[in-house]
């Protein structure tokens, strides 16, 4: 028998029982579409993470200072002295006060206030929409000036020009000198858009919150990142007299760690989805077994007019493969549709459809049909024509 004749026979049977076929396919549809969708989401997340770090530059090192018993604080000038070390391009220490009340006119909002220096903007790849960023002179003179994120500007000033206006940060008056372009969240999850930036030592004096908790250090080139890291380790060890109380993150390490985390998560989700594909396969086997006993007489008739074992075996096998393959195809379409629609409902969550994985999921669904169709098909082929004909 020729392959397309088998295919024709299988399609005829599948068409004869549309409802049952669809129900049988359901498991495979759900399995394939969830694999495709989850992989798209996972891949989208990984790509988004990579992009975030790319925009930040992989030359950036982040130093967190938790403090330990001996020393809890680092001096701003000591830190800035690191800039004279070979391989270090810039240092931007920060002091952060989260959830600070900021007032303008009668509006009162809660924002993060960050005290830093002029290096910060470039290291975070931020851009000015209007005015200027903090300058060295603002730190030298402890100026009461502020640069505000785009959300802050929108909230307080709407379409009005914020430059030169005065805002009240926890009782101290600062003059707005610049507005940032919208940028979205950065790697540590904080958004420049909803932050107010002031000169570091103005903030230290006003809020008596002297501790520098975090500093960004930019290496001159990606080759010098590890050397800079070693220099920082040595410097901090010397300051803290211990390896406790601080840690240093390397952007590229962080990137790979987060990508790995996202990949692991995706793999776990996909495994669960793959299990549903397997359950779908068992569903196909179930229905095929029912079909075989229902069609015992048909098998008998076919055998009596000369169908060989192999013909019957292939007929049922192709039928199972057609059902699961069709399910796989529908699942693929549903998965692609879901992947495309997903960002509409979750704007922050990008998806990226993987052609390879989609193809594998589809082929796997066909394979599932063949594997789980094997037992029923074999059972059908082994029926004796005389027993099959007698069956009612």
């Amino acid at each position: 028998m020729r392959p397309w004749e088998l295919l024709g026979m299988a399609l005829a049977t599948v068409r004869a029982n549309p409802l049952r076929t669809v129900l049988t396919m359901l498991g495979v549809i759900i399995g394939v579409s969830s694999v495709v969708t989850l992989v798209s989401i996972g891949q989208g997340t990984s790509e988004a993470i990579a992009k975030q770090y790319e925009s930040l530059g992989t030359n950036l090192l982040t130093v967190n200072l938790m403090g330990n018993g001996r020393a809890t604080n680092l001096n701003y000038d000591d830190m800035m002295a690191l800039e004279n070390t070979a391989g270090i391009q810039a240092v931007a220490p920060t002091v952060t006060k989260n959830g600070t009340t900021v007032k303008y006119d009668r509006d009162e909002e809660t924002y993060n206030v960050v005290g830093t220096n002029d290096r910060y903007l470039e290291m975070q790849k931020g851009e000015m929409a209007d005015g200027r960023f903090l300058a060295q002179a603002d730190l030298d003179f402890r100026n009461h000036v502020a640069v505000i994120g785009s959300e802050v500007a929108e909230q307080f000033f709407g379409k009005d020009d914020p430059l030169g206006e005065e805002i009240n940060i926890s009782g101290y008056i600062y003059t707005v000198i610049g507005v940032l372009q919208p940028k979205g969240s950065n790697t540590s999850g904080t958004s420049l858009d909803s932050t107010v930036f002031v000169p570091l030592n103005t903030m230290q004096r006003d809020f008596k919150s002297g501790s520098i908790r975090m500093a960004y250090v930019e290496a001159a080139s990606s080759d010098s990142v590890s050397r800079v890291q070693a220099v920082l380790e040595a410097f901090l060890y010397n300051q803290f007299k211990s390896s406790n109380g601080y840690n240093i993150f390397n952007s590229s390490e962080l990137l790979s760690a987060r990508t790995t985390a996202s990949t692991t998560m995706t793999n776990q989700l996909v495994s669960v989805a793959a299990i549903s594909l397997l359950v779908g396969g068992i569903g196909i086997m179930n229905i095929m077994l029912v079909t075989v006993s229902e069609r015992t007489r048909e098998i008998g008739i076919r055998k009596s007019i000369g169908a060989k074992r192999r013909s019957i075996l292939l007929q049922f096998l192709v039928e199972a493969a057609v059902i699961s393959g069709m399910g796989g195809f529908v699942g693929l379409a549903v998965g692609v549709a879901l992947s495309l629609l997903w960002p509409l409902f979750n704007p922050s969550q990008a998806t990226s459809i993987s052609v390879n994985v989609s193809l594998y999921a589809f082929l796997f669904s066909v394979l599932v049909g063949i594997v789980f169709g094997l037992y029923p098909a074999n059972k059908a082929s082994k029926l004796k024509p005389i027993d099959a004909l007698r069956f009612d």
Partner: protein, 239 residues
């Protein structure tokens, strides 16, 4: 020349301790071109004999040569191939596949015989036309009357030009009028040179045959010739 040579065929079923002897040493030779009716009351073993002749069931002992092919040593596939090439079945219940059209049903043995799609479609249409069913090719069996279904089944049986036509109560599910028509059709097939074995319990139907073999309790008790054995005239071109 004999189309069928059954020699000392027995069929025994064992049910627990008990052995059930369905066929007790049947020897029967049927000539090519003959028309043989096998009659007997129910339980006489005629169905089992028919299944044996039709290669649907294998005997417990004895030898069976069909059209010069010894069948004892054939496996499942060999038997399937022989059924496909040499035997055309006509069943009491027609046994058409309900989901296929009349035309597709007639095509089925040719599909298993490996005939090309176009050739077999043409031949199936020809067979239907020869049986007066040319207009009904696209009907499903459920849309046809009993007599029409049996004609489709006969077309299917003839499609592969079998050496032997095996009819099991072919009129059993039809009213007497259509039954008579089908019987006439079978008689005509015999006149055209086909070897026919007909199983029936009805002596009127058996009377159309040239030879009547009567079974009882798994043995031949009478073998009567009603019309002369035909000369062997067919199959010169076939190896």
């Amino acid at each position: 020349m004999n189309m069928i040579e059954l020699n000392d065929i027995t069929k025994t079923y064992t049910r627990g301790q008990e052995a059930l002897h369905i066929l007790r040493g049947i020897t029967l030779h049927i000539a090519e071109g003959d028309f043989v009716a096998i009659v007997g009351p129910s339980g006489s073993g005629k169905s089992t004999l028919m299944n044996t002749i039709g290669l649907l069931d294998t005997p417990t002992s004895g030898s069976y040569v069909l059209d010069n092919v010894p069948t004892e040593r054939l496996g499942d596939n060999g038997l399937a191939e022989l059924r496909n090439r040499k035997i055309g079945f006509i069943f009491q219940q027609f046994n058409l596949l309900p989901r296929l059209t009349a035309l597709e049903n007639v095509e089925l043995p040719m599909i298993y015989g490996g005939m090309a799609a176009r050739a077999r479609r043409e031949r199936a249409q020809q067979m239907l036309e020869a049986l007066g069913m040319g207009e009904r090719g696209q009907h499903k069996p459920s849309e046809l009357s009993g007599g029409q279904q049996q004609r489709v089944a006969i077309a299917r049986a003839l499609a592969i030009a079998p050496s032997l036509i095996l009819a099991d109560e072919p009129t059993g599910a039809l009213d007497s009028q259509t039954g008579a028509e089908v019987l006439e059709l079978i008689t005509r097939l015999n006149e055209q040179g086909n070897t026919i074995v007909l199983i029936t319990h009805d002596s009127h139907i058996a009377a159309s045959a040239k030879r009547v073999v009567t079974l009882r309790d798994g043995a031949v008790i009478a073998d009567e010739r009603l019309a002369p054995q035909p000369e062997s005239r067919r199959r010169e071109a076939v190896s």
